[in-house]
Protein backbone atom coordinates (compact mmCIF):
# COMPACT_ATOMS: atom_id res chain seq x y z
CA UNK A 1 0.00 0.00 0.00
CA UNK A 2 2.95 2.29 0.72
CA UNK A 3 4.24 1.61 -2.80
CA UNK A 4 0.95 2.86 -4.29
CA UNK A 5 1.38 6.24 -2.62
CA UNK A 6 4.97 6.23 -3.91
CA UNK A 7 3.65 5.98 -7.48
CA UNK A 8 1.29 8.86 -6.75
CA UNK A 9 4.12 11.04 -5.43
CA UNK A 10 6.35 10.21 -8.43
CA UNK A 11 3.44 11.20 -10.70
CA UNK A 12 2.95 14.52 -8.91
CA UNK A 13 6.69 15.29 -9.19
CA UNK A 14 6.71 14.41 -12.92
CA UNK A 15 3.54 16.46 -13.52
CA UNK A 16 4.78 19.48 -11.57
CA UNK A 17 8.23 19.41 -13.20
CA UNK A 18 6.69 20.79 -16.39
CA UNK A 19 8.59 18.17 -18.42
CA UNK A 20 5.36 16.99 -20.02
CA UNK A 21 4.55 19.24 -23.01
CA UNK A 22 1.01 20.42 -23.62
CA UNK A 23 0.84 18.22 -26.72
CA UNK A 24 1.00 15.22 -24.34
CA UNK A 25 -1.64 16.55 -21.94
CA UNK A 26 -4.09 13.85 -23.05
CA UNK A 27 -1.76 11.10 -21.78
CA UNK A 28 -2.48 11.17 -18.02
CA UNK A 29 -6.21 11.45 -18.75
CA UNK A 30 -6.02 8.41 -21.01
CA UNK A 31 -3.97 6.46 -18.45
CA UNK A 32 -6.51 7.25 -15.71
CA UNK A 33 -9.52 6.34 -17.86
CA UNK A 34 -8.07 3.03 -19.08
CA UNK A 35 -6.84 2.14 -15.58
CA UNK A 36 -10.21 2.92 -13.99
CA UNK A 37 -12.23 1.04 -16.64
CA UNK A 38 -10.05 -2.05 -16.23
CA UNK A 39 -10.10 -1.94 -12.42
CA UNK A 40 -13.84 -1.23 -12.23
CA UNK A 41 -14.45 -4.23 -14.53
CA UNK A 42 -12.31 -6.41 -12.27
CA UNK A 43 -14.22 -5.09 -9.24
CA UNK A 44 -17.50 -5.85 -11.03
CA UNK A 45 -16.32 -9.38 -11.81
CA UNK A 46 -15.25 -9.94 -8.20
CA UNK A 47 -18.65 -8.73 -7.02
CA UNK A 48 -20.52 -10.88 -9.55
CA UNK A 49 -18.51 -13.98 -8.66
CA UNK A 50 -19.24 -13.59 -4.93
CA UNK A 51 -22.66 -15.07 -4.05
CA UNK A 52 -22.67 -13.39 -0.62
CA UNK A 53 -22.42 -9.96 -2.24
CA UNK A 54 -24.98 -10.58 -5.01
CA UNK A 55 -27.46 -11.66 -2.32
CA UNK A 56 -26.96 -8.43 -0.31
CA UNK A 57 -26.75 -5.85 -3.08
CA UNK A 58 -29.90 -3.94 -2.07
CA UNK A 59 -28.83 -3.57 1.56
CA UNK A 60 -25.50 -2.26 0.22
CA UNK A 61 -27.45 0.42 -1.67
CA UNK A 62 -29.35 1.48 1.46
CA UNK A 63 -26.15 1.72 3.49
CA UNK A 64 -24.56 3.78 0.71
CA UNK A 65 -27.48 6.22 0.67
CA UNK A 66 -27.25 6.79 4.43
CA UNK A 67 -23.46 7.18 4.32
CA UNK A 68 -23.68 9.66 1.43
CA UNK A 69 -26.37 11.71 3.17
CA UNK A 70 -24.37 11.74 6.43
CA UNK A 71 -21.18 12.75 4.59
CA UNK A 72 -22.99 15.65 2.92
CA UNK A 73 -24.68 16.72 6.15
CA UNK A 74 -21.41 16.60 8.10
CA UNK A 75 -19.61 18.65 5.46
CA UNK A 76 -22.45 21.20 5.37
CA UNK A 77 -22.33 21.68 9.16
CA UNK A 78 -18.55 22.12 9.10
CA UNK A 79 -18.63 24.57 6.17
CA UNK A 80 -21.44 26.53 7.85
CA UNK A 81 -19.27 26.94 10.96
CA UNK A 82 -16.38 28.15 8.79
CA UNK A 83 -18.63 30.61 6.97
CA UNK A 84 -19.84 32.05 10.31
CA UNK A 85 -16.21 32.37 11.41
CA UNK A 86 -15.33 34.20 8.18
CA UNK A 87 -18.22 36.65 8.60
CA UNK A 88 -17.35 37.24 12.26
CA UNK A 89 -13.70 37.97 11.45
CA UNK A 90 -14.71 40.26 8.61
CA UNK A 91 -17.09 42.34 10.77
CA UNK A 92 -14.54 42.47 13.59
CA UNK A 93 -11.76 43.82 11.36
CA UNK A 94 -14.29 46.26 9.84
CA UNK A 95 -15.22 47.48 13.35
CA UNK A 96 -11.56 47.97 14.23
CA UNK A 97 -11.04 49.99 11.08
CA UNK A 98 -14.01 52.18 11.93
CA UNK A 99 -12.65 52.78 15.45
CA UNK A 100 -9.24 53.77 14.12
CA UNK A 101 -10.85 56.26 11.79
CA UNK A 102 -12.83 57.80 14.66
CA UNK A 103 -9.87 58.07 17.05
CA UNK A 104 -6.91 59.51 15.13
Amino acid sequence: MLSLVTFLVIGVVVGASGKIPDSMAWLPDRIITIGLVFLLMVMGAQLGADPEITANISSLGQQAFLLAAAAILGSIVAAYAVERLMLWMRTRSQARQDREELVP
Binding site: F7, V42, A49
Partner: protein
Protein backbone atom coordinates in the same frame (compact mmCIF):
# COMPACT_ATOMS: atom_id res chain seq x y z
CA UNK B 1 -17.45 9.30 -16.79
CA UNK B 2 -20.25 8.05 -14.57
CA UNK B 3 -21.85 6.19 -17.49
CA UNK B 4 -18.49 4.65 -18.43
CA UNK B 5 -17.86 3.62 -14.82
CA UNK B 6 -21.31 2.04 -14.49
CA UNK B 7 -20.94 0.18 -17.82
CA UNK B 8 -17.50 -1.13 -16.75
CA UNK B 9 -18.86 -2.46 -13.46
CA UNK B 10 -21.97 -4.00 -15.06
CA UNK B 11 -19.90 -5.72 -17.80
CA UNK B 12 -17.47 -7.02 -15.16
CA UNK B 13 -20.33 -8.04 -12.90
CA UNK B 14 -22.04 -10.03 -15.70
CA UNK B 15 -18.73 -11.73 -16.55
CA UNK B 16 -18.17 -12.59 -12.90
CA UNK B 17 -21.73 -13.76 -12.36
CA UNK B 18 -22.00 -15.97 -15.47
CA UNK B 19 -18.49 -17.06 -16.51
CA UNK B 20 -15.64 -16.39 -14.13
CA UNK B 21 -14.99 -18.12 -10.84
CA UNK B 22 -13.32 -16.50 -7.82
CA UNK B 23 -10.24 -18.72 -8.24
CA UNK B 24 -9.78 -17.52 -11.80
CA UNK B 25 -9.99 -13.90 -10.67
CA UNK B 26 -7.17 -14.43 -8.17
CA UNK B 27 -4.81 -15.04 -11.08
CA UNK B 28 -5.32 -11.40 -12.04
CA UNK B 29 -3.87 -10.07 -8.76
CA UNK B 30 -0.51 -9.18 -10.32
CA UNK B 31 -2.17 -7.37 -13.20
CA UNK B 32 -4.45 -5.50 -10.77
CA UNK B 33 -1.47 -4.30 -8.72
CA UNK B 34 0.28 -3.08 -11.87
CA UNK B 35 -2.88 -1.31 -13.06
CA UNK B 36 -3.28 0.41 -9.66
CA UNK B 37 0.32 1.62 -9.77
CA UNK B 38 -0.10 2.98 -13.33
CA UNK B 39 -3.44 4.56 -12.37
CA UNK B 40 -1.99 6.40 -9.36
CA UNK B 41 0.99 7.51 -11.45
CA UNK B 42 -1.48 9.03 -13.95
CA UNK B 43 -3.52 10.65 -11.16
CA UNK B 44 -0.29 12.11 -9.76
CA UNK B 45 0.73 13.61 -13.12
CA UNK B 46 -2.73 15.10 -13.52
CA UNK B 47 -2.66 16.66 -10.03
CA UNK B 48 0.94 17.85 -10.46
CA UNK B 49 0.06 19.56 -13.75
CA UNK B 50 -2.69 21.72 -12.22
CA UNK B 51 -1.52 25.10 -13.49
CA UNK B 52 -1.65 28.28 -11.51
CA UNK B 53 -3.06 26.52 -8.46
CA UNK B 54 -0.65 28.17 -6.05
CA UNK B 55 -1.28 31.59 -7.56
CA UNK B 56 -5.03 31.09 -7.13
CA UNK B 57 -4.62 29.77 -3.60
CA UNK B 58 -2.57 32.85 -2.67
CA UNK B 59 -5.31 35.11 -4.05
CA UNK B 60 -7.88 33.45 -1.78
CA UNK B 61 -5.58 33.13 1.23
CA UNK B 62 -5.68 30.70 4.10
CA UNK B 63 -9.39 30.00 3.60
CA UNK B 64 -8.44 28.01 0.49
CA UNK B 65 -7.05 25.37 2.84
CA UNK B 66 -9.36 25.82 5.85
CA UNK B 67 -12.53 25.27 3.80
CA UNK B 68 -11.56 21.93 2.17
CA UNK B 69 -10.08 20.69 5.47
CA UNK B 70 -13.32 21.49 7.32
CA UNK B 71 -15.32 19.79 4.53
CA UNK B 72 -13.07 16.74 4.91
CA UNK B 73 -13.51 16.76 8.68
CA UNK B 74 -17.30 17.11 8.50
CA UNK B 75 -17.50 14.34 5.90
CA UNK B 76 -15.46 11.95 8.06
CA UNK B 77 -17.49 12.68 11.20
CA UNK B 78 -20.74 12.11 9.27
CA UNK B 79 -19.52 8.92 7.59
CA UNK B 80 -18.02 7.48 10.78
CA UNK B 81 -21.14 8.34 12.81
CA UNK B 82 -23.58 6.67 10.42
CA UNK B 83 -21.05 3.93 9.65
CA UNK B 84 -21.02 2.93 13.33
CA UNK B 85 -24.83 2.75 13.35
CA UNK B 86 -24.64 0.50 10.27
CA UNK B 87 -22.08 -1.75 11.96
CA UNK B 88 -19.02 -0.66 10.00
CA UNK B 89 -15.59 -0.39 11.63
CA UNK B 90 -14.56 3.22 12.34
CA UNK B 91 -11.66 3.25 9.86
CA UNK B 92 -13.64 1.38 7.20
CA UNK B 93 -16.33 4.07 7.35
CA UNK B 94 -13.60 6.73 7.23
CA UNK B 95 -12.09 5.10 4.11
CA UNK B 96 -15.51 5.08 2.38
CA UNK B 97 -16.14 8.72 3.34
CA UNK B 98 -12.68 9.87 2.27
CA UNK B 99 -13.60 9.22 -1.35
CA UNK B 100 -15.14 12.72 -1.01
CA UNK B 101 -17.32 11.96 -4.07
CA UNK B 102 -14.51 10.59 -6.28
CA UNK B 103 -16.31 7.25 -6.62
CA UNK B 104 -14.14 5.55 -9.25
CA UNK B 105 -10.77 6.03 -7.54
CA UNK B 106 -11.96 5.36 -3.99
CA UNK B 107 -13.83 2.22 -5.10
CA UNK B 108 -10.92 0.60 -6.95
CA UNK B 109 -8.43 1.50 -4.19
CA UNK B 110 -10.61 -0.12 -1.54
CA UNK B 111 -11.73 -3.10 -3.65
CA UNK B 112 -8.23 -4.05 -4.80
CA UNK B 113 -6.22 -3.39 -1.65
CA UNK B 114 -8.71 -4.14 1.13
CA UNK B 115 -12.12 -5.72 0.49
CA UNK B 116 -14.25 -5.89 -2.63
CA UNK B 117 -17.58 -5.50 -0.84
CA UNK B 118 -16.37 -2.35 0.97
CA UNK B 119 -15.16 -1.13 -2.45
CA UNK B 120 -18.67 -1.59 -3.83
CA UNK B 121 -20.05 0.34 -0.85
CA UNK B 122 -17.53 3.14 -1.51
CA UNK B 123 -18.56 3.27 -5.16
CA UNK B 124 -22.28 3.53 -4.37
CA UNK B 125 -21.76 5.98 -1.49
CA UNK B 126 -19.64 8.36 -3.52
CA UNK B 127 -21.83 8.14 -6.64
CA UNK B 128 -24.81 8.99 -4.43
CA UNK B 129 -22.86 11.82 -2.84
CA UNK B 130 -22.38 13.35 -6.29
CA UNK B 131 -26.05 12.85 -7.24
CA UNK B 132 -27.37 14.22 -3.92
CA UNK B 133 -24.91 17.14 -4.10
CA UNK B 134 -26.32 18.19 -7.48
CA UNK B 135 -29.78 18.22 -5.90
CA UNK B 136 -28.99 20.04 -2.64
CA UNK B 137 -26.40 22.64 -3.77
CA UNK B 138 -28.94 25.21 -5.07
CA UNK B 139 -31.00 24.80 -1.90
CA UNK B 140 -27.98 25.08 0.41
CA UNK B 141 -26.70 28.15 -1.46
CA UNK B 142 -30.05 29.91 -1.03
CA UNK B 143 -30.70 28.95 2.60
CA UNK B 144 -27.31 28.58 4.34
CA UNK B 145 -24.91 30.72 2.34
CA UNK B 146 -22.55 30.60 -0.60
CA UNK B 147 -19.53 29.06 1.13
CA UNK B 148 -21.68 26.20 2.44
CA UNK B 149 -22.69 25.37 -1.16
CA UNK B 150 -19.06 24.31 -1.78
CA UNK B 151 -19.34 21.49 0.79
CA UNK B 152 -21.82 18.88 -0.56
CA UNK B 153 -19.86 18.19 -3.77
CA UNK B 154 -16.59 17.44 -1.96
CA UNK B 155 -13.90 16.60 -4.53
CA UNK B 156 -16.39 17.01 -7.39
CA UNK B 157 -16.52 20.78 -6.74
CA UNK B 158 -13.63 21.07 -9.22
CA UNK B 159 -15.50 19.49 -12.14
CA UNK B 160 -18.94 17.85 -12.06
CA UNK B 161 -20.66 20.06 -9.48
CA UNK B 162 -18.67 23.25 -10.28
CA UNK B 163 -21.17 24.56 -12.87
CA UNK B 164 -24.02 24.13 -10.38
CA UNK B 165 -22.07 25.90 -7.62
CA UNK B 166 -21.15 28.71 -10.03
CA UNK B 167 -24.79 29.09 -11.09
CA UNK B 168 -26.14 29.14 -7.52
CA UNK B 169 -23.45 31.47 -6.08
CA UNK B 170 -20.95 33.93 -7.61
CA UNK B 171 -17.55 33.98 -9.36
CA UNK B 172 -15.59 34.37 -6.10
CA UNK B 173 -17.27 31.32 -4.57
CA UNK B 174 -16.80 29.34 -7.81
CA UNK B 175 -13.03 29.96 -7.60
CA UNK B 176 -13.07 28.86 -3.96
CA UNK B 177 -15.09 25.77 -4.93
CA UNK B 178 -12.60 24.84 -7.64
CA UNK B 179 -9.65 25.14 -5.23
CA UNK B 180 -11.51 23.21 -2.52
CA UNK B 181 -12.31 20.46 -5.05
CA UNK B 182 -8.67 20.22 -6.13
CA UNK B 183 -7.40 20.05 -2.53
CA UNK B 184 -9.96 17.34 -1.64
CA UNK B 185 -9.09 15.40 -4.84
CA UNK B 186 -5.43 15.48 -3.81
CA UNK B 187 -6.39 14.09 -0.42
CA UNK B 188 -8.33 11.09 -1.81
CA UNK B 189 -5.40 8.94 -3.09
CA UNK B 190 -3.53 9.55 0.19
CA UNK B 191 -6.41 9.41 2.70
CA UNK B 192 -8.09 6.23 1.42
CA UNK B 193 -4.95 4.03 1.74
CA UNK B 194 -4.18 5.72 5.09
CA UNK B 195 -7.57 4.78 6.60
CA UNK B 196 -7.39 1.29 5.05
CA UNK B 197 -4.09 0.74 6.78
CA UNK B 198 -5.65 1.79 10.10
CA UNK B 199 -8.63 -0.49 9.36
CA UNK B 200 -6.30 -3.43 8.69
CA UNK B 201 -4.89 -2.69 12.14
Amino acid sequence: MMRLALISIVVGFAAGFFFLSAEYLQWMDGLVDAALAVLLFGVGIDLGRTRGLFRRVRAVGLWAVIIPLSIAGGTLIGAIGVGRLLGLEVWEAAAVGSGFGWYSLSAVLIAQTYDVSLGALAFLTNVLREVLAVLVIPLVAARLGKIVAVAPGGATAMDVTLPIIAKSTDAETALLAFISGVVLSMMVPAAVPFFLRLAAG
